[in-house]
Amino acid sequence: MTSRVPRRELLAYLIGAGVAGTILIGPYVLRAIAGEVYVPDRALPMAPIVVLPVVWGLWNLVWARRQPAIGVASWGAALGLGLACFINLTLAARGFWFRSALLTVPFLPLVYWLLWGFVVGPLNEALGVEGGVPAEIPRAGAR
C-alpha cells in the first residue's frame, strides 16, 4: 500500500512533533526530580501533555498547508492560547484548578511564541517547509 503525502507537510508534522517530543523531557524527567526535591509531600498538577507532539505536529502541518498571513511565531502563540484555555478547563473538570492557573492564558502564548519563533520556524525554513520549496533530500544512489 502506498500513499502520496506532500513532503513539505510530512516534514512539517515531523518538525512539530519532534520539537514537542524533545520538550517533553521537561515534564517527564525534570518534573520527577523537581517534585521529589522541592515538593515531596504533594503531587504536582498534571496537564494532558502526552498528546503535545501530535498537536504540535498537526498544527505545523496546517501551517505548511495553509501558509497563513501571520508569522510562524504568532501561529504557535495561537496554539499556546488554545492549549492554555484547554488546560484550565481540564484542571477545573478534574477539580485541580487553582487561581494562578489563569495566568497560563498569557504565559503559554508567550512561551510558545518564543519556541515557535526560535526553534520551529528556523527548522521549517531550513528544511523548506516555510518557503514552499521542498527540501532536497538525496536519495540512495543519487548523484
Binding site: I23, G26, P27, L30, R31, A34, G35, Y38, V39, L44, P45, M46, A47, P48, I49, L52, L83, A84, I87, L91, F96, F98, S100, A101, L103, T104, P106, F107, L108, L110, V111, W113, L114, G117, F118, G121, P122, L123, E125, A126, L127, A135, E136, I137, P138, A140, A142
Partner: protein, 71 residues
Amino acid sequence: MAMLDVIRRGTPDPPHDLWPRLRARLEEQDDVVRLRIPSLGWTGVAALAAALATLWIVPDPLAFLAASGIL
C-alpha cells in the same frame, strides 16, 4: 597452473575493506542544512521577560509550570 597464475594476476583483488567506500558514499550524500536562528530583538526580550516575570509572581511556580505542561 601457469594459466591460473595468469588469470589471478589479471584480475584485481576484491576490496576487502569496505569502510572507506561506505564513508565516501555517506559523505557524498551528506546534505548540509543551514539553520538561521533569528536575533532575539526587543520583542523576544520582552516576551522572555514577561514569561520570567509570570514565574516570579505566581505563588507556586512548580505547580504553575506543571499545570502549563512545561514541567
